[in-house]
Every structure is written in structure tokens, then in C-alpha cells.
Symmetry: C2
Subunit: 340 residues, 2 copies
């Protein structure tokens, strides 16, 4: 007994704990138990009452490497990430705080670029940056810069969106091609030997979720499939809702370059991170209409209905192009550290 406890106490944090996949999921469940029943649970934002309104509140730390990458930088990413967590809760993003941990010796010009990039992304999303903090640590005690953002939004009164709200007959929509962010970051890593033109899809999704939210309670779940990719987002929905989700491989948009890179690296595009994509589970009765409306938005041009929700055991399956059916698993272990 004593031996067993000692072993457990000496367990160490591994990169897999930060992967966004099943190992993170388990650790986060263990931690959240300490806090009782947090409002956020496995949703992207916590939703709580504030005065007579409902408020969405979320936070994320960003440790992406490299700090500047094709399609964005840590500043843009940190603002979009938090805006998107509010947006997929069905909230209108309002206020943001930003806090930086910077390694001694980091160039002030790069810091300024990052701050300007935050400002630009915030202006685009209509969110106000209203506070912040700066900590500096000695050379070697951090790697460049880490950024934390926290955001507040006001919940739309007509929606009731939650990860456990998928119903049989609902359709699954993805707003565009998957895996772009992960592959863009991977292509920049020293030691990874491939060239690609793929850019991160990093973008604020509040205008797109605004369109979807016009359909009120017909919208059941919204997620932005970041770490762990579409596979992890769908598995979380299936588990929380106690439903089976079946997606159709031929319907899932994947850029040719992303498909090739994934083939080369032995990755499943379904498990690769996105930073500007929306997964929406919506009533089958309005799915086609929502998808058409999404296509009018710059971030939803390639929106597609990719699957359906069924009664049955929690799980996600995919009808393959080859005509088979396979389990879609949550990312397990580490795929790529510091993807966001």
C-alpha cells in the first residue's frame, strides 16, 4: 500500500498531459475533481450568472513554437483562441486580458510585433483588451514568450449550447478544411524535413458563430477543434452526450498538402490541431440551411455536413472512402508539443 502510494506520488508530468488528447482529459478530470464541479467542465468556456445576464468566461495559455509561423503568431493565436472559446459557447466576446511571461533577452521589437498582432486580432473580433500583466524570468527559465489570455463574453439569450447536448438525428458540420494549423507549425520545426505552403487557419470565429446562433435552440453543440483535432472534439461530444457519431470520410475537407504531409509523417488529419475551425452539431431539420449560411462567411466558405448523431454507445466512427468503417479515436499520448 505504502509502496503503491509512493509510486503514484512520484509520477511526473509528461508532454502527453498537455496534448489535448486522452491523457490530458484524464488529468484534467482529476484536477477538476479537486475544484468540485467547475462550470466549464469540458466546455470551452464556463457559463455563469452575472447580475441579470449570463456570462461566458474562459482562459488559455499559449506556448506555441515557433512564436512567428505561417499564417500568424502567438499574439494573434492567443486572441483568436480565447475569442473562439467564447464564440463557441454561444457568447458575444466582449473583454480580454493578456498576460505575458517573457524570457530575459527576448527582443523588444518582437514583443511589439506580438502586441500589435493581438491588437489587430482583437479589433477584428470586436473584443476589447482591457488589462494585462508582464512577468520576466531569467534567460533559460522560459523559452522566448508565453502568453495567457482570458476573455469574457455575454451569452446570447436564445441559445442553449453544451457539449452534452447532441441529439439523435442531429448533423455534424465542419466549417472548412482540417489540420492546417498543426501542419503549418510542424513544417517550421527544426529536424522536420518537409516543405509545404500550408498556413495556419488561425482566425476569430465570432462572426461565423453569430450566423449559426441565429438558429437558436436548433444549435446543440459548438466546439473549436484545437489540440487533439476534430477527433478529440467529436469524442468529447459523443462521451458527454452519450451518443454515437458517424462521420463520412469523403465529406471531411482536407487540403491536398495537409493530406500529403500527414501521410508522410504518419499522422491522422482528424487528430491534427485547428485554430480557425468550427464544429457544429445542429438539428437535422436546419443543417443544410446553416451550412449554406456559413458558406457566405469568409471563415466558412468550405463548410460541409460531415456526419450524424445516433442513439447508441458513446463513440465516434468513420465510414471510409474505401467503403469500410473505423473507430475515430481521441488522440492518445503526445503528437506535437507546443502546437498552441
Amino acid at each position: 500500500m505504502q509502496g503503491k502510494r509512493k509510486m503514484a506520488d512520484e509520477q511526473k508530468i509528461t508532454l502527453a498531459h498537455g496534448s489535448g488528447g486522452s491523457t490530458s482529459y484524464e488529468l484534467i478530470r482529476r484536477i477538476t475533481r479537486v475544484f468540485g464541479k467547475p462550470a466549464a467542465e469540458l466546455n470551452d468556456s464556463a457559463v455563469v450568472g452575472f447580475g441579470k445576464s449570463r456570462l461566458a468566461f474562459t482562459t488559455d495559455s499559449f506556448v506555441v513554437k515557433p512564436v512567428f509561423f505561417p499564417g500568424g503568431d502567438i499574439g494573434k493565436l492567443s486572441v483568436c483562441g480565447t475569442v473562439n472559446d467564447l464564440a463557441v459557447a454561444g457568447a458575444v466576446p466582449l473583454y480580454l486580458t493578456a498576460s505575458c511571461i517573457v524570457e530575459e533577452g527576448f527582443k523588444i521589437s518582437d514583443f511589439k510585433k506580438i502586441v500589435e498582432s493581438m491588437k489587430k486580432a482583437a479589433t477584428q473580433a470586436g473584443i476589447r483588451i482591457i488589462g494585462g500583466d508582464l512577468k520576466v524570468v531569467k534567460k533559460g527559465e522560459a523559452d522566448g514568450i508565453f502568453v495567457n489570455t482570458a476573455g469574457i463574453g455575454m451569452l446570447r439569450s436564445n441559445v442553449s449550447i453544451s457539449v452534452d447536448n447532441a441529439k439523435p438525428g442531429d448533423k455534424v458540420i465542419i466549417s472548412g478544411s482540417i489540420g492546417d494549423h498543426g501542419i503549418a507549425i510542424l513544417s517550421q520545426r527544426p529536424g522536420i524535413s518537409f516543405r509545404t505552403n500550408v498556413k495556419s487557419d488561425c482566425a476569430p470565429l465570432d462572426s461565423l458563430t453569430g450566423i449559426v446562433c441565429r438558429f437558436g435552440k436548433k444549435v446543440r453543440v459548438m466546439r473549436d477543434p484545437t489540440r487533439g483535432g476534430l477527433a478529440s472534439a467529436l469524442n468529447e461530444i459523443a462521451m458527454a452526450s452519450g451518443k454515437t457519431i458517424i462521420i463520412d470520410e469523403s465529406a471531411v475537407p482536407v487540403r491536398r498538402e495537409v493530406g500529403s504531409a500527414c501521410g508522410l509523417l504518419g499522422l491522422d488529419p482528424l487528430q491534427v490541431a485547428n485554430e480557425g475551425k468550427l464544429v457544429a452539431v445542429v438539428s437535422g431539420s436546419v443543417a443544410g440551411k446553416i451550412c449554406r449560411e456559413m458558406k457566405k462567411n469568409r471563415y466558412g466558405k468550405d463548410a460541409a455536413i460531415i456526419g450524424e448523431v445516433f442513439r447508441g454507445k458513446s463513440g465516434v466512427y468513420m465510414k471510409t472512402i474505401a467503403g469500410g468503417k473505423r473507430i475515430v479515436e481521441m488522440l492518445s499520448g503526445e503528437q506535437l508539443p507546443r502546437i498552441c
Copy 2:
């Protein structure tokens, strides 16, 4: 011209930029200019409208070293820090998010201790932890654990507290002895050769600020003098309010051990960090009463009126015990990295 610009671009972030003193102050002013006019400016929290209520919103990143120190740990510190930023804005702290950046190899048992410590501090302060995030970076890319907290509070309707609100005739109150946190952390650093029994004063101040806020608009400014100490907090008040503040050395509570340690290390206790102290600038007409009420609270037992606000040029002065008068300067350069 070109040469000058190039030089400026190649400037690097230094530890002094994170000191909480004048170098941080300048950099933060430069950054906040990019964001327009942030609501927080130099206040501890930003105050904005939300529905029909007024909301205080704040964030801080914590990089304290060591992670466990006499009187607390990074978990307690991160919750108290954010609770206090809300409390000194005159708000009732309500909701908190916590986000951790953890170095690969960090002990899970230590991580659990920190999380439990956050939970305990949050329960004491009556704030609910409702969301979080976890990022893991490779060994050597961070130093142990960094914690970010963001918090929301509801502003009391009867107060109007702001750093620029000090008026001639107002009195300055400090809630207890200064410099305890800084000296407790310093005493734990390898290479620093002194022993002391000083514990960090790390504590949630919401109950104490609640007492002060009963005096409504007679309360002009509240601050928690963290990085940069009492000296920086008073200088920020004097600058923002355009007033002269004169404090009385004999009235400022300093523990004997803290005084000795400061003497030994060549530090000014006025510039040493606190994590559980309140500075309040209040109308002279109620200062005595407020001070007596504060003494009834466990965190205000040693409260004292230490100075007064005067018409005149922005600045802070101290009447010394020796009978002289000296300028109280904002901390400049680096005193001690990773104090919080």
C-alpha cells in the same frame, strides 16, 4: 535616424522590465498605448459595464521561485493575487480561471498540492474556480510551473475607487507590516545567506476591503502593494492623482526581522513586495474610524495611518525617524526576479 531606429529595435527585455518598478511602468505604458486606452491602465483591475452591472476583470501570471515558500505556495499566491486585485477595485470577487504552464518532469504530487492550495484559498475568499487550462513544455523550456489566474468581480455600487482619486486632506492607511513576502522569498533563495522566521503575508483581502468599502465614496484609492512594494504603489497614486503624499517613517509597521534583513541586504522595506497588505487612501474625516474597523479583521490587526495627501507636485516623501525628510522613490531596475 536609421541607426537610432535599429538600436531601439534590438533592445532586449531585461529583468527590470518585470520588476514592478519604474522600468516596468515605462514598458507597460508603451504597450498599453498600442491597445488604445485600456480600462485597467494603472489600476489593479479593469472596470467595465456588463448588462446592468459593473464588472471588475483582472489577470496575473505567477512565476514565483521557489514554488513552495514559508507562508504559502504558487497556488495560494495566484488565487490571493487575483482576489486582491478585484478586492482593491472595490469589487466582490466571484469567479476565477486558472491556467498552468508546467515543465515536463514536474512531480504530479507537487502539482496536486498546488491545485489543492488554490482550492483552499478560493474557498476562503468565496471565489469560484470555474475554468482552466494546462500546457506542458519540454524539460528546460520552463522552470517548474507558472500559473496564470484571471478573475471577475462585481463592483459594489456605493464606491468609486481609482488610482487617480486621492484628494488633499486624505489619509493613507496600511493594513499591517510591510515587506514580509519579499523577505520570505529572498530567504529561500540559494546563495542568499541569512536565516529568518519571516513568512509571506500572502492572504485574500476581500473581507478587509469589504469593511473599508462600507465607507462608500469616502474611500478614494485602494491598492495591494505587491511588486515594487509600498513605495511604488504610493508613487503610482501620487502620479495618477497629481498630488504630494507624505508618510511618517515612525508610523509604518515593519517587523524587526524584516528590518534587519533589509539592512543586511541593502534593501528599502518600502520597496519590498507584499502579498496580503492593503493601502487605502481615505477621507481624513473617517480615517481613524476605518483604521479601527480594519483592526477587527484578521488581516488588518496592525493597521495604521501612515501619511497624508497634500496639494502640490506629484511625489512621495517620508518624514524620517531621524527628523529629516526624504524622497520615496519607485523601485528602479531589478530588485528580485520571480517574487510573485
